[in-house]
Amino acid sequence: MNALLAAVAVWLVGALASWLARHHPDRSAWIGAAAAVGGAALGAIAALGALPVRDAQFFSAPWSVPYGALSLRLDALAAVFLLPLCIVGALCAIYAAPGPHRRANGPSSGAGYTAFNILLASMAVVTVAANLVLLLAAWEAMTLASYALVVTEHESRAARGAGFQYLVFSHVAAGALLLLFLIISGASGTWEIAGLPGARAAVPFAWLFLLVLVGFGTKAAIVPFHIWLPDAHAAAPAHVSALMSGVMITMGFYGLARFIPLLGPPSEGAAFVLMGLGAAGALGAVLLALVQRDVKRVLAYSTVENAGLVTLAMGVGLLGQALKAPGIAVLGWAAALLHIWTHALAKSLLFGGIGAIAHATHSRDLEGWGGILARWPVVGGLTVLGGLAITAVPGLSGFVGEWLIFRALFDGAVVLHGASRVALVVGIAAVAMTAALTLACYARLIGIGLLGVPRRAPPADAFARPGAAMIGSLAALAGMCVVVAWFPAPVVAALAGPVAMLVPAGDPTRAADVVRPLGGIALLASGVIILLAALRTALVRRRPVRASVTWDCGYATPEARMQYSASSLAEPIGRVFAPLLRTRVERHGPEGHWPAKASWRSRTPDRTMTGVYRPALGGLSALMLRLRGLQEPRVTTYLRYMVLALLVLLGLLFLPIVVRP
């Protein structure tokens, strides 16, 4: 616990110091980065210490805020979220460390590091806050700090818009949390989380569950509350997107894991809701990821997809608990936590790599990319590795997480009966399709973006020697992706502590036993592939190997623009899913005998935005406009309104439904 307190102190002092030094951008950035790394090291020590321990560590200090107390509780469930926060946080800070590759954010980097450190500190406090008021305060600090980071490039209108949208969604969610906390603390008479399970609120479980889902699910980017994420991720600098995508959304899952058990006994209905939202969200999000042109939006929608998979796994865990099948519950919760870890690693690696390339080529348009791997082998190679890691193919980390999700679904389908069995088999099919679409999505991102030849000429100085800090941080993430895949059992064994907290009846070591053979398969596959590659090398050694052009059917002047484009690669899938995607195509074909110009443009809007939020918000603002008629430029009108309001309140006192204090 002391290490954690020291970590938070280091982050906050670092934030303050880098703010004070903001007029010297380089010095300020160095201070901020050093504080982020130092704090993360201390935090990681605290997390590693608490992860396997069954008993929580406490800290308490008085706080002048009403109902608030600075009470912290570091237990295994907090540690499982704290650990990736520290690892990814430190590596993101190193990645963005001052250097020649960071010209774009130069002027605001000092303030940027202030917000970055505050974000790290507030997320750490969220995981350990034992008091609802403190949790809410840390939650709000997290939102505001990440908002400041999203609008780093505030000169751009798109960034400001994305930031505002993020702020609005976060605060609707925070409102839901406030309401939830008022209800449950009112019922149990305490604002300490530890005291909550004692009393049950008079409000039905379903309403409380809905509030938890809106409140924490918005941060976790569960569909349909994900809408803020793609814009915010596209606008933010790469290391911020990496931190938000890999770590900040997991704070929402932390909230779900912490608060759903407090609402009442595990409910089958809640499990089905989580599984349904997760499966549908994963499928819908990966389809949208597949058709994006902006590389960072591809990654952002892929984050929503992975959030869906985690939600699905949590649903399976909850279902196992509700149906008294602790074996299934252990696998489900372990799968959710493991997927959170593996996704944090792979997605930060991808945001780092793709962000560096976008920065070097001054473009986020996938249709203009190509040939990066040949020109920038180290960054390109690490990005390819990240793509493989998140695609859930054997030999890299993503597979272990996804395999465990599948395994939980299969186990559940065999053991459970009736509606649960149907739901789990539907889950299997949905995850299988999601996996195939993810593969297509990343084959497109890597194959079109990094391979082939550049479709648009990159700037002359684009592929300068990358900074050692950037390469080092990306290589560390890639190394962890490999280690998790080759030695899955020790990694999953580390999750036994939090799983035991979530499923007291289960055997928490089961998940580690179950994944053990995966390491063997990864090693076997790697060995066979290396042998075959060596055989190929030996076969061609004494034979003529020539370099030539790609087969062009004898066409005289092949051009880079004749390559397959990202849009055309995804088009057949898009056409099959047209009823879901509703892609809008504007085409102006060549006309007349001497056609001069033709154009083709397609756009795939997010249908939760166009179909749900925009009409709803439009209706709301129309209503507000109508209410404007109530306003008059006379004081007497407003006095009349006040009297009216008082009378209505007085009248309410006589109604039996109002609870008087």
Partner: protein, 303 residues
């Protein structure tokens, strides 16, 4: 790892190139031609492995690594199937997920290798390969789920081993449906008609052939062998479901694989001769049908 499983594994590796040849020979016979000799694929492979190769200047290490990955993953996937009808070379609960994952890794590298050339031919093939996989994957997993439910087992070796015989006693309809569904998956995964046309060399109609257009020499040899091996693997999977052999004496169970795989190859040849290749947009419908069939098999087992 039993002796019979090693023998069966070796047998399947050895006879894999025979299957495309047999399917091609069937097509030739039904269309009144003589066709290539059955051993032609072996000669082709021997020739390709002895050749040099040409690399496009566009390509990177991804292109050079792809054939080894495609073949390596198919080989490891073969280790997970109980080819002798009772045990696999290696296996564990949940290995069917690894089976699908290995094939997915092969597909990813195949596609990336194609896109590495920067050619629109390969892009076209890659696009179709990825698009069809979107539908074969759920069909395969639904089939595996039905098998898991019918047998109560979670590893390929055990699913297709002893419990499958009992499964035929109480869930015959499900197993028959899964067999048919996985046969359709085979047609897509092994790039056969009516999904793909292995015979033409017109880029616009091909899928697998066009994705590997720029590979040559040993690389092409690896890819062709991997494709034949995939055919054999799915053939063995279908044969394993429709013809459970765990009760048979080991030598007969292994030898029975030869006529079983030959029957699958001939059936593929017959289908290719009586049906035209489907229009590209109709293939997802066929594959969705296969998934629906497997799903129906699952529904029969919901209690």
């Amino acid at each position: 790892m039993s002796r019979s499983s090693i023998v069966a594994f070796t047998l399947v590796l050895a006879m894999a190139p025979l299957l495309p040849a047999l399917a091609g020979r069937t097509v030739a016979f039904l269309t009144g031609r003589r066709g290539a000799p059955l051993l032609q694929p072996y000669r082709d492979l021997a020739k390709l492995l002895g050749k040099g190769t040409v690399y496009s200047r566009t390509t990177t290490w991804v292109f050079r690594l792809a054939p080894a990955v495609v073949l390596g993953t198919s080989l490891v996937a073969a280790c997970l199937l109980p080819l002798d009808g009772r045990t696999a070379l290696t296996g564990f609960a949940g290995d069917m997920i690894a089976f699908a994952g290995l094939l997915a890794l092969g597909r990813l590298l195949l596609v990336l290798g194609g896109l590495d050339t920067g050619s629109s031919f390969e892009g076209m093939g890659a696009s179709r390969e990825l698009g069809f996989a979107t539908f074969t994957e759920p069909a395969l997993f639904l089939g595996l789920a039905a098998l898991a439910l019918a047998t109560g087992e979670l590893s390929l070796g055990r699913m297709l081993g002893t419990p499958l015989g009992a499964g035929w006693a109480h869930a015959p309809a499900t197993l028959a449906m899964v067999g048919v569904s996985l046969f359709v998956v085979l047609l897509a995964e092994a790039s056969r008609g009516p999904v793909d046309d292995p015979a033409t060399h017109l880029e616009l109609t091909m899928i697998h052939e066009v994705t590997i257009l720029d590979h040559g020499g040993p690389d092409l040899g690896f890819l062709l062998y991997a494709s034949a091996l995939k055919f054999a693997l799915f053939g063995a999977l279908v044969a394993g479901i429709l013809m459970p052999r765990s009760g048979w004496p080991a030598p007969i169970a292994i030898l029975a694989l030869v006529p079983a795989l030959a029957a699958v190859a001939i059936l593929v040849g017959v289908i290719e001769s009586v049906m035209a290749r489907l229009r590209l947009m109709q293939v997802p419908q066929l594959l969705t049908g296969a998934a629906a069939l497997a799903a129906l098999g699952v529904i029969l087992l919901v209690r």
